[in-house]
Symmetry: C2
Subunit: 601 residues, 2 copies
């Protein structure tokens, strides 16, 4: 099996306008600095001096290497497009500290070095390889951004040391890590260096799974036998992304098929309509098929990021809109919800519903204040999500296109320039505010345009031999200089869930393009479940620059008030305008109820 296409990397992309240009500007001007400040305040950068002593504040935590690593990777992506000496200085200084404080054998880990130097690679659940993987991703990103290879070499040494510990000398006391990440990182290291042993090491970590009887960390079965997404949701999607990378590199069809089955397990049976993954906060984990409770919904921002990474890899290997459609849902909803409109606040979990009374029911609030949070925070004790958000936004251009010799696929719609080999496109669009795209082509090639499964009608002008194929892409032959106009109809749509999803029976969600909408208590009478929607009434768009996209007004209903608690059913309804905002924009105006699945009249 040969991969059909490969990703057009960040260096050959430029986001030039529209929705994601705005997000990148905010990311570059606000978010990256705010995350840095919070991390610096909490001692996360200082921790790289590896000299913390008992009694001092800010005791390092086992996740901290990875928190900073993702920040470094984000900064590298930003530098790659917009040189920034200040960011570069922070990276260089941190790399110097890593160099200074790493072991002679190449190992680097703040907590193990400080607290348990004798116990390296003995505790499967302690995130050493997870931290290592994120540092490797950062090193690769920085190398690509600047050409400087100090960080990359440091991480190669570390990877070599890991190979010894796990494969050659086999003194590590577990086989696969308890939190996946190193697998995809090693593939990046291989691609940056051409050193095959890093690819082999990644393959080792993936293939060795199945010995642990631990479904929580996806080690309960050999990966090729895993057919249901289970356990910790973030770990799962990181593993699956690594599986996809290896399937591409080795042309491993059995691995691709396993990854495809796991993708469907999520996209067809376990995904919230927002693209959110992880149906329970207990263990940040998946539940069973079609079980999508609102009260326990987890949907960690990092899970959506991993899901987008996984879909990107799968749709490069075998372009199929099913991957991109799911990734797009996650991107514009579950992921984007993780960041406040001011660019400073983050959700760790992204609740599918905020029911303030319910949250304060002593039955449901046993996980508070950690879960569910109703307002974004600027930093968390486990602050994996904030730098993960910045790195995805900074690197968003890499998610737009893949290519092969004759074809360029446009997977995700964003304003920018994307240069393949001997071919390129410039996309001008305000998507997802509307579905209009003007695509200027350079070179003679076949342009493959995703037709999202939510789209019922579209227009396409320019090019020749336009053909919609089973993979959900419209293949059109274009010539150098040609301008393609591709317009997706984007009416407001009322969505039902599969009838097996018992939580959604009798309810509808509202979506326009990939954007899911919600009702917020600040705009609507309570209880929000008492707002009745009739899909026949249609919807009105209302311009809302503050959200980057229009809001929606529905001609809905509420039930008349009553003094009785229970009484004979009647059909009386009172008209009530229902205001909906993008799901990603909720919780930007104070604590409020929020509802995605509205009651169907």
């Amino acid at each position: 099996m040969k991969p059909t296409s490969k990703i057009i990397p960040l260096k050959n992309t430029e986001i030039t306008g529209g929705f994601w240009a705005d997000k990148q500007k905010l990311n570059r001007e606000v978010t990256i600095h705010s995350v840095y400040d919070r991390f610096a305040e909490t001692g996360r950068f200082e921790a790289f001096k590896v000299n913390w002593k008992e009694g001092e504040p800010n005791k390092p935590h086992i996740f901290w290497d990875s928190d900073v690593a993702k920040w470094l990777e984000s900064a590298a992506y930003i530098i790659a497009k917009t040189p920034d000496p200040e960011l570069e200085k922070i990276i260089d200084e941190t790399v110097d500290l890593i160099d200074k404080n790493r072991w002679d054998d190449g190992y680097f880990n703040i907590c193990y070095t400080l607290f348990e130097p004798e116990d390296r690679f003995t505790a499967r659940y302690n995130h050493e390889l997870y931290c290592a993987g994120h540092l490797m991703e950062a090193a690769v990103a920085y190398y690509y951004a600047t050409g400087k290879d100090k960080f990359l070499k440091i991480m190669c040494d570390y990877a070599d040391m890991i190979e010894k510990a796990f494969v050659t000398e086999k003194w590590a006391e577990f086989d696969s890590p308890g939190h996946e990440e190193i697998e995809l990182a090693l593939v990046k290291l291989y691609r940056a260096t051409g050193e095959n042993r890093y690819l082999e090491l990644s393959k080792y970590f993936v293939d060795v799974r199945g010995s642990e009887e631990d479904s929580y960390t996806q080690a309960h079965k050999p990966v090729r036998e895993q057919d249901e997404a289970v356990g910790h949701s973030v770990r799962a999607v990181y593993l699956y992304s690594g599986m996809a990378d290896l399937a591409a590199e080795y042309g491993d069809e059995s691995l691709f098929n396993a990854a495809d089955t796991l993708f469907d397990s999520m996209a067809k049976k376990k995904m919230y309509i927002t693209g959110g993954l992880g149906q329970t906060c207990v263990g940040e984990a998946f539940l069973g098929d079609y079980d999508l409770p609102e009260t326990s919904s987890y949907c960690e921002t990092c899970a959506d990021i991993g899901y987008i990474l996984f879909a990107q890899r799968m749709s490069a290997i075998k372009p199929d809109r099913k991957y991109d459609d799911a990734a797009e849902l996650a991107l514009y909803n579950g992921f984007l919800c993780g960041l406040s409109l001011d660019g400073k606040g983050f959700f760790y979990d992204n609740s599918i519903e905020v029911d303030l009374i319910g949250i304060n029911n002593p039955h449901d609030n046993r996980h508070r204040p950690f879960y569910p949070i109703t307002q974004r925070l600027e930093v968390f004790s486990c602050s994996c999500c904030p730098p993960n958000v910045t790195r995805l936004i900074a690197n968003i251009g890499e998610f737009a296109c893949t290519e092969n010799d004759g074809t360029l696929w446009l997977h995700h719609f964003m304003g920018g320039e994307f240069k393949g080999e001997g071919k390129a496109i410039r996309v001008e669009t305000l998507y997802p505010e509307n579905g209009k795209m003007k695509i200027t082509c350079s070179g003679n090639f076949t342009l493959a345009l995703r037709l999202p499964s939510w789209c019922r009608s579209y227009t396409l002008s320019g090019g020749k031999n336009a053909t919609l194929k089973e993979d959900g892409f419209i293949y059109v032959d274009v010539t150098d200089g040609e301008v393609i106009e591709y317009t997706l109809d984007m009416p407001v749509r009322f969505i039902q869930a599969n009838p097996k999803v018992r939580q959604c029976c009798g309810r509808v969600a509202v979506q326009r393009g990939p954007v899911v909408y919600c009702a917020e208590g600040v705009d609507n009478p309570l209880p929000l479940k008492g707002l009745y929607v009739d899909p026949k009434n249609g919807a009105t768009l209302v311009e809302a620059p503050e959200y980057g996209i229009s809001t929606i007004e529905l001609d809905g209903y509420i039930r008349p008030e009553s003094d009785e608690l229970y009484y004979d059913y009647d059909e009386s309804f009172t008209e009530q305008k229902i205001k909906l905002i993008p799901y990603y924009a909720y919780a930007n105006r104070g604590e409020s109820d929020m509802l995605v699945w509205l009651t169907k009249k």
Copy 2:
């Protein structure tokens, strides 16, 4: 304020046929013995020897005195109607043990005597007065049943001792008990003995409340200032029953008004449609107004019993169908659900919904196996409910009628004979299977027939000057020997909840007369929330002798199957018969999903 009427006591009632005669037969022949056996097996009767020693099995628990006390009270009610030397022997032997093991000062408590003799009346939360109250109720019941006064005198001694500890000598280290019960028990002791000091002591315990800042035990405010049912639901309704008793005895209008406000707080804002009270298992407690979650619903059987006791007292003082309607809902639903059809199994909490998948969600199952239980058990570690069920059923005749000089009120419809002073009625009815009642009158008096608020039409023949008053009773003058035929129309009704109850938006419940119906997984396709009901389609009754009442079949709908997880809303429905059984009869055919609030099409 003088009470309008007084209860016609058990001794002047006889349940002769129909629904409650069947329940009493089962209670007499099966339940009382089964509860005895389980209590004997678990050492609860043996514990009255007060000689348990460390290392032996069945260590006595602070509730056990009350568990057995309620069994004794139940047995006394049964003996009062159906002499049973075996039951009488058990009672006598237990009374002998109490006599033998009580303290010289009259005190009796198994655990305190065994484990903490120095600490009597120091711990407000330790149920001493709760146990004492139940023993007093048992003693009064046994005295009425047999005329034997040994038990009664023992409990008078105990009450005298309590008076010293709390009022005269004031050495008790708290003022009001943490679990109410003694209040209403002392009123019973007063009524049985004529000793005013017991009434005064009850008044003390009620009036002293307000000093504890503890809303959980209703001690946060003076009772006359309490206007919302809060805290532990069983404790609350026991207190409120005592308040009603005192309001009647003292003609205390302020106390009656406070009790009435608290009644409305429950009946109009906090009661499940089943009459269940207590919206959260955490603390077995009330939540806020209109907050009636299904996932945390508590609805302890004992709370419904206390609610029925409270309503009985209120509707004697000031007959009003609002009390009886609520009590009737509790009686035929929340209470009766507490007992299995075979008479042996009990629910402690009565869930408003059984969602087996949800119950197994690690987010929701943190209280398992104690909560929610999906199948009835024969005994619990805290086994207050089983003997409470037997005592209410054995004493059910006392809930039918109240009277004053000229009027006899029929509050609850059951086949039997009810003898007031100079007036009596014999009721023949199969209620609640249908609404037909034949009432043969003895004496010339005014008969007041409750017209339930759920009843939209009725027929009444016989008597003169029939007048429906604002209290919801039809007052009709009857003469000696006259036969009144009173028939309530009992169509199947579709019920909506107040729109403030967000959990019920877009949903309907099905009720016939006072009986609420439910869908059970064993009869219907899953998920049960995927059953769509259209009230316009009506309903069909299906005879079901096994349940003591007809079942219901609806012409409902399900949504067509789909391979997709989310898709455009359409109006496609497939016809589906929906089988409903009485809520009280669920969980008699194995573990199964159960739903009361069905999705409205």
